[in-house]
Symmetry: C2
């Protein structure tokens, strides 16, 4: 099978997060093409755009194929400066700005893309408070203040609770606590008593025992902790506890941190 | 001044992260319009799309204005099912897929949007290792393994090191350590000796003393820690240390976590 190769540039006047994420989704629709990705971030002046354009033109020459350029540049002058016959240049920002001006009956302000700036210091502080909360109460350390939590994640050790809590805090400003289900909790299907006042905030995470075993083995090899039988027993009991208490549950085995976090938002009907 | 109000829906068959971020950038270009945002995530079946369409049509009726709908639906059948005369529906995914098929000389596979799935368990584990590294070595606890770090952030207490380390780990799989500059370090402009072997990995974070004072006061009020004079002295000395050692520096005062993280990538010329 001959695999087509193609260079793709992601170019942004800011973090590049949006254009890279969109690009990743789009490229996954062309599984037979082997894409080589190059990200150029903070390309926010005509000079920097000219440099990027030269890099694109050199890549076109070397590869013998026009690269794809997915860009997100807020200022029309920058979009203009990126234009080249050597590549297929698609500007996400410009495309949708043009499409929005008509229905909104307004011209865009064309200010530089500062969507990631801290517009409201209050909102920033709230997020930092949420991150500190997640860090302070990670794995039940220090007597968690569950009353303050927006959501409490339950799961066995290494089922993915901590990164999800941090993601919910950083991206959405949510106060996310977690409760690690240890052997004592798993002797019964009753909720641990400390969690009983907070039933509506609880969300269970589960994981395939084989995967759990691999994750644990990387941390503490050669102990019961990473034994496959032990992983199976813990996961089965945790799932029984979730079922007995009718908790919403997500299997984290093949799901990324951001997908787990947004699935929780969707299932808990939270709209932060 | 009469403010125009407008309802905007973000609809995704997946996390909604891309379409919400793009939407936020786009809407910031229309500062005179007061947007009411509604996010619908994991809208991944024709039934769910039909329900979303009904919600859009009801909003159109109640507000008397066609809502804007920014969607990201990978399957053509879902995009078709979302169409309505009651709203301005713009599908980010479909728009760019159409634009890419021609230069790539391939039809898209039109599989559901699983860009956030864990395609390679190895890559997922690497990110989790990076998160664990950031958590374990946060604020120099436990004798940091700086040799393993891709980048080491320096700054006074509460200058924003921890969330940035976690973001670099979660989003890019980078091993990010941090070193809190305490009074002892700030008596001189020499690098702390433990950092001297790692000069090329160092990155300084600074912050306006007034902002620092506010952040600290939320944590420990009524102590020297949150005294404005103390904050001024620490920040001035930290900046002198950065300058004396020609370290790259970023002022975090008005910058979000993701922007700090991607600025570091850009300045350190890292392309994870």
């Amino acid at each position: 099978m001959s695999t087509q190769q193609r260079i793709i540039f992601f170019i942004s006047d800011s973090t590049g997060i949006t254009v890279e994420k969109l690009g990743r989704s789009l490229l996954s629709q062309f599984p037979d093409i082997d894409f080589q990705r190059i990200s150029l971030r903070y390309v926010d002046s005509v000079d920097k755009v000219a440099k990027a354009r030269e890099e694109i033109e050199a890549a076109a020459k070397n590869s013998g194929k026009p690269p794809i350029v997915l860009s997100s540049l807020a200022q029309p002058a920058l979009r203009e400066a990126l234009k080249t016959d050597a590549a297929v240049v698609l500007d996400v920002f410009g495309t949708f700005l043009d499409l929005l001006e008509v229905p909104l009956q307004q011209k865009a302000s064309h200010a530089a893309g500062h969507a990631h700036r801290v517009a409201e210091p209050g909102a920033y502080m709230a997020r930092m408070d949420a991150v500190n909360y997640a860090l302070r109460y990670d794995d039940g350390l220090g007597g968690p203040n569950y009353g303050r939590a927006d959501v409490i994640l339950l799961g066995v050790s290494r089922s993915g609770k901590t990164p999800v809590c941090l993601y919910l805090a950083m991206q959405y400003g949510l106060f996310a606590a977690n409760y690690p289900l240890v052997d004592d909790d798993l002797q019964t299907t009753s909720l641990p008593s400390v969690l009983q006042p907070f039933r509506t905030k609880l969300f269970g995470l589960t994981i395939e025992p084989q995967r759990l075993q691999k994750i644990r083995a990387r941390r503490y090899s050669g102990r019961d902790y990473a034994d496959l039988g032990q992983c199976r027993r813990e996961v089965a009991r945790a799932e029984a506890l979730f079922a007995a208490n009718q908790l919403p549950v997500l299997d984290t085995t093949v799901v990324s941190v951001e997908e787990i976090a947004t699935q929780i938002l969707a299932q808990m009907q939270m709209n932060p």
